[in-house]
Amino acid sequence: MMSNRVIAVLLCAAGFIWMSMSPAVNAAGNSALKVYAVNYPLQYMAERIGGDHVEVFFPAPADVDPAFWRPDEDTILRYQQADIILINGAGYSQWLTYVVLPYAGLVDTTANISDSLIMSRDARSHAHGDGPVRTDGDAAYITWLDPELAVEQARAVKDAFIMRKPEHEPFFSERFELLEEELDALDNEWISLLDSYRGALVPVADDIYEYWAARYGLNLHGTAWSPDRMPPDEEWRKLDEIIKEHPVDFMIWNSVPDSDVKDRLRKRGIESVVIQSADLKPEEGGFMDVMRANVERFRLVAD
């Protein structure tokens, strides 16, 4: 005869197997929405707004730019199983062109702000004979650096959650409003910091700042300088010519530039500021921490 202990162990094992096979269940006992995002900012927004009612995944490896990531087929199958797939729109994630995803779960977070999208300056079109034209290149896609656009993307996330779980509307709305307040505060800080630079020429080492610059009235000058390599003299000469015509106070980088580069810029009266886009999850903190750190770094330079 089976002892009570054996029965208890078997029951525990069965319970464990059942739990592991069941969809994720939150504290309230409801199954959580399975959400897949295509970048970290959307993952962050989903987690902030959805709380325990969502289970958010962003499976891109930590060392790959999610905009150019190519998910393998197993990962695509996992995306297909999601209740909601949050995409950035604006041509972000080229892989979406050639993968097969369910339309029902797809949420384009910039669909409602398509009028605000900026076409990439590198855009070039091609056609075959007299056939229709295809634009090679898309809109600029780091939309969330403009806090106003980030709010709209978060709103799209909230609306998608409410549509699938209308019973939790007050919960989602309340958490969205908190995030909105934080993004509004961030926007106000940028406005107060950048108001005096409106119309100024700002060299940038990356082409990810279009929306940020458009929001605060800055004129970008793309350089494509690498932060860890000294630019050739030709590039410095070009910069000097620009400085002669337009006063330049700072240059924007996506990561900390080499100290020699920083020094050479400082000799020209140009401070280096790192503004990160947070496509990938930071090692410490979250999306809003990265955004606030951007403001603080700029404040240090501006002061």
Partner: protein, 391 residues
């Protein structure tokens, strides 16, 4: 009673030939109407079930029957081509979720259905072998297609060229079979499913080709400036999508203008369905919306009329056969007059003799009806096997 049945059974067994002919005639006389009745009933149930499961279909104006049969069974040619903008308009209206269908091409005689993964959720079909398509150029095949073409996951399937004499036409696409769908005994078993983007690649709207570099053959560039490169139509495009070239695939033109042959609209409730139908009721636009259940119901009405005709014919035939059986029994009784007389002299009452003859007739009828139903079931199974998409 048991004795009478035993005597009747022994009599029928003794006159094997005559009994078999009687059973044979009655079996076929009954099997035909029973089979037709069951076949039409099954057809009606099946067609109406699929139609009932499809709330609304939106498509180009033209024959309602063609549109319904096209969207439900991928059989009839669509009345025309619609653009994706209409699908987006349905979505934007908020009345319904839309599932696009683009059914223009075939692969080894089976229709290639360009749709989205939502179609499989909507029809509740899973993958029996392999897995769902993940990339453009992938396809999942219906159960019957896999059986007939001997396809398994990992095999390749070439789309049929539209016109073998049109050298400048659309090239066939070499597709990768990623899975075989569960059998659901509908038109889905007889179709090849691809993502709608893949069907547009077959249509020629999307394609992959080498990038334009400085070393691209100048003969392939007709015109070039900072904003636009016009390539020669002779620029080689890929006819097979591989991991190496998949990232070069792209679509030309405005997605709103991309073609569809029908859209399945899935409204949230009856009110939304009515409101969506109302958008098309004035008939002013280029599209129509219909409830497949009504259209197929009308079609079935015609089939029911036809079945009534058959039923009358079979009743007449059964009547004639019954008269024939009655005649046979009558003649048989006359032939057996000496036998009946002997039974009478042995002490059998007239009632017993009548019960004995009735028992023989009953045994013949029971055997005939049983065989008729058995035959009908065999025919039904054979039809289900040969015409799986109907049942």
């Amino acid at each position: 009673m048991g004795n009478i049945l035993y005597l009747a059974w022994r009599y029928l067994k003794y006159y094997k030939g005559r009994s078999c002919i009687l059973v044979f005639c009655l079996t076929f006389a009954m099997a035909l109407p029973i089979t037709v009745h069951r076949l039409v009933g099954a057809l009606q149930t099946d067609m109406l079930q699929r139609a009932d499961e499809t709330p609304l279909v939106v498509g180009p104006k033209g024959s309602r029957f063609d549109l319904a049969l096209h969207a439900l069974y991928f059989e009839a040619e669509a009345p025309g081509i619609m653009t994706q903008s209409e699908r987006f308009a349905i979505e934007d209206s908020g009345y319904a979720f839309s599932i696009p269908l683009f059914v223009m091409y075939q692969a080894r005689g089976f229709p290639i259905v360009g749709t989205t993964l939502d179609y499989f959720t909507f029809r509740d079909i899973g993958v029996e072998r392999g897995r769902m398509m993940t990339l453009i150029g992938d396809c999942v095949v219906g159960w019957e297609v896999a059986q007939r073409l001997g396809l398994s996951p990992g095999d390749r399937l070439l789309s049929d060229p539209e016109n073998v004499f049109d050298l400048g036409g659309v090239y066939p696409l070499n597709m990768r079979v990623t899975g075989v769908l569960e059998r659901n005994r509908t038109a889905d078993d007889m179709a090849v499913f691809v993502d709608v983007k893949t069907s547009w690649i077959i249509e020629g709207i999307g394609h992959g080709h080498e990038e334009f570099y400085d070393d691209t053959d100048p003969a392939l560039i007709l015109e070039e400036d900072d904003d636009l490169v016009v390539a020669s139509p002779q620029l080689e495009t890929y006819t097979e999508i591989t991991p190496d070239n998949i990232h070069t695939f792209h679509f030309h033109g405005d997605p709103r203008d991309f073609p569809l042959t029908a859209v399945i609209a899935v409204p949230e409730d009856d009110r939304s369905a009515t409101l969506l139908l109302g958008r098309y009721v004035d008939g002013a636009g280029a599209y129509q919306a219909l409830r497949p259940s009504r259209v197929i119901g009308e079609l079935m009405g015609m089939i029911v009329q036809l079945r009534r005709f058959f039923d009358v014919q079979h009743i007449v035939m059964l009547g004639v056969t019954s008269c024939f059986v009655f005649l046979v029994m009558l003649l048989s009784t006359r032939l057996r007059s000496r036998e009946v007389e002997t039974m009478y002299h042995l002490g059998c009452s007239r009632g017993t003799i009548i019960r004995l003859l009735a028992a023989e007739l009953c045994l013949v009828l029971v055997a005939s009806v049983s065989l008729a139903f058995l035959l009908s079931s065999i025919v039904m199974s054979a039809v289900v096997w040969w015409v799986p998409m109907v049942f």
